[in-house]
Amino acid sequence: MVTLIDYGAGNLRSLRAAFERAGAAVAVTDRPERVADARRLVLPGVGAAPPAMRALAGGGLDEAILAAVEAGASLLGVCLGMQLLFEQSAEGAVPCLGLLSGTVERMRWTDRLPHMGWNDVTARRSHPFAPPPGTVCYFAHSYNVSPAEADVVVAETELDGWTFASVVAAGQVAGTQFHPEKSGPAGRDMLSRWLEVPVAA
């Protein structure tokens, strides 16, 4: 069972359908007690970090996510949901969940934002979520994560000569900067591999 966190942000219908296509049963909830008890959690998100963190905190969902991870749940953040896993976002200088060390910065090096469209996702180390060669996924964002620890980065993406982390993982916490639910077969493959990783009962 995959539990999708509903805090008023993100295209839940697409994400839900994508997990169902990948063979998972999906529950959508905005209740902290159900989030805290979940074994496989997905944190979606589009838009800006400050309203997203306010919405999570307002519903008690931030504490519930931390409790679930503490209890061994597997957590996947998607797009803004991945950025919220880190400590601090420059977007409104807002503190985030702090499950991963590092910050979120605006992609100042490129002269055209948002980074919108299909781009390569290139594995940087061996990991269950490392994408196969030739993987191209759909992105829509203007901020990127800067993990404090290099080994959190599973895959990177290049834009205008700079690279940024596009798949991160540490312990049972993982994230994708791209939208797997909008990335065709490559995205489905990513979700399938996340679903295959065992979670402690």
Binding site: V46, P114, H115, V136, A140
Partner: protein
């Protein structure tokens, strides 16, 4: 490397796919979700749905179709037409649209762009600009499906909506639209030079080399309708041509 996007555009009325000439003699051409799914399987990088009726009943039909699309289409879906306030945008995004496009409403009330961007994020706010050449060597922005002149310079209007929070522009040349004679490359070049967000080229595609030329002129994406719907060219044909021009595409 970021790929240039090839984007088929579908006209939708009341949740049904329609085809016609200049919005007249519309024929029912089936389920837009089936068509979107077919295009996605054929390599479309994104799908645009243009709602061509503003009636309440048609709006509900559109939302129902977007909901079904979100369940079956695994590439991004942008929906426009009739988005006149943030509530419309919210309904479309909740139904499962990834981006919403708005054209006339921001010309009447520019603050709408900022309201949409603040609530939903710039990455899902597309402003569509319909532009026609004026006598002074520039372009004027038009509202109401190209029927109503606004007196606004289209390139300056592009810069203004980006300042207000638009994350992408869908730029249609009224002069070229429907001619199959190619996009207005000077318009595209002028807009792409002026703004720092992605630009989708629209209006005038008659064959694969037209889309390649639009992308070569600086657009990040090229939209076309009839060449795909009439079966004269496939998405794969277009991508092959774009690649031949040395531009990156997803294959």
């Amino acid at each position: 490397m970021l790929r240039r996007r090839i984007v088929p555009c579908l006209d939708v009325r009341g949740g049904r796919l329609v085809k016609g000439v200049n919005f007249e003699d519309l024929r029912d051409c089936g389920d837009p979700v089936d068509a979107a799914e077919r295009y996605a399987a054929g390599g479309a990088d994104e799908i645009v749905w243009l709602n061509i009726s503003a009636g309440d009943e048609d709006w509900r039909g559109l939302l129902a179709a977007v909901e079904r699309a979100a369940e079956r289409v695994d590439v991004p879906l942008c929906v426009g037409g009739g988005v006149s306030d943030a509530a419309h945008g919210r309904e479309l995004l909740l139904a499962g649209a990834d981006k919403v496009s708005s054209n006339s409403a921001p010309l009447d009330r520019p603050a709408l762009v900022g309201e949409l961007a603040e609530r939903f994020g710039s990455q899902c706010v597309v402003v569509a600009i319909d532009a026609a050449r004026d006598n002074g060597g520039g372009w004027q922005a038009f509202a109401s499906a190209g029927r109503r002149p606004t007196g606004r310079d289209a390139v300056e209007w592009a810069a203004e909506v980006v300042d207000r929070g638009a994350g992408e522009l869908l730029v249609t040349s009224i002069d070229s639209d429907g001619t199959l004679g190619g996009y207005d490359l000077e318009l595209l070049h002028a807009v792409c030079e002026r703004v720092d967000v992605p630009v989708i080229a629209s209006g005038g595609a008659g064959g694969p080399s037209d889309l390649a030329a639009a992308l070569d002129a600086g657009a990040q994406a090229a939209l076309a309708a009839s060449i795909f719907h009439d079966g004269t060219h496939t998405i794969a044909d277009v991508k092959q041509e774009v690649a031949r021009w040395g531009l990156p595409v997803r294959t």
